[in-house]
Symmetry: C2
Subunit: 121 residues, 2 copies
């Protein structure tokens, strides 16, 4: 898989909340940074974040990729991460940076406005 395909696989694994598939796509020392919130490290850190909060609450999850670009091992994407909670969709506009090493993601950094999310809760 190309770095771009690896990132696409990560996004689709997140949408179906397949955390084993997510963890198989990241390095042991991955840095996962939700920029306005903070960083976690390693597959356990990723698993904890992706199994809590709105990821746990949502009845459905859809991460729409609006754009994706790459340069060697660096991949970026622009997304709208959507979460169906109760009867409405929470939408978070995001731009992200990923770095791939030996076929796995070692950096995942999501840039977004925290208040835009909070105001929808």
């Amino acid at each position: 898989m190309t770095p771009g395909e690896i990132v696409t696989a990560l996004v689709t694994a997140c949408e179906r909340r397949d955390l084993d598939a997510v963890c198989a796509l990241v390095t042991d020392d991955i840095e996962y940074d939700n920029v306005p919130i903070g960083k976690v490290f390693g597959p356990d850190g990723v698993r904890k974040v992706l199994s809590s909060g709105v990821m746990a609450e949502a009845a459905e999850i859809e991460w729409r990729v609006l754009a994706q670009t790459a340069d060697a091992d660096t991949v970026m994407n622009e997304r709208v991460d959507r979460f169906l909670v109760g009867d409405r969709w929470i939408e978070i506009p995001i731009a992200a940076v990923f770095r791939v090493r030996d076929g796995r993601i070692c950096l995942w950094r999501d840039y977004f406005d925290l208040d835009t999310y909070r105001k929808q809760r």
Copy 2:
């Protein structure tokens, strides 16, 4: 110039506050979206945003590009936009999307956390 080189020229023109150079790099219908704040359109809109607020106040401006990726006419970059105001540097972590048409930028979308900026004012 490649789309990536056009974006680099935009960044360096912003750093030296050369708004004529900035406006020469964008289309007449550019959409410039500071995602948590809102959009402006056209060179006049871009000029207005880039000549106000922290852009006007700062004694020095440095936009550090941490990563840049491209796919055809779409360019993305990860930056730390730095502004020297008084005796301290205000720093805004940003990920951005650009689209280039006929050698000019027709879309510029900056993703960042507005509170991260406000707390430094």
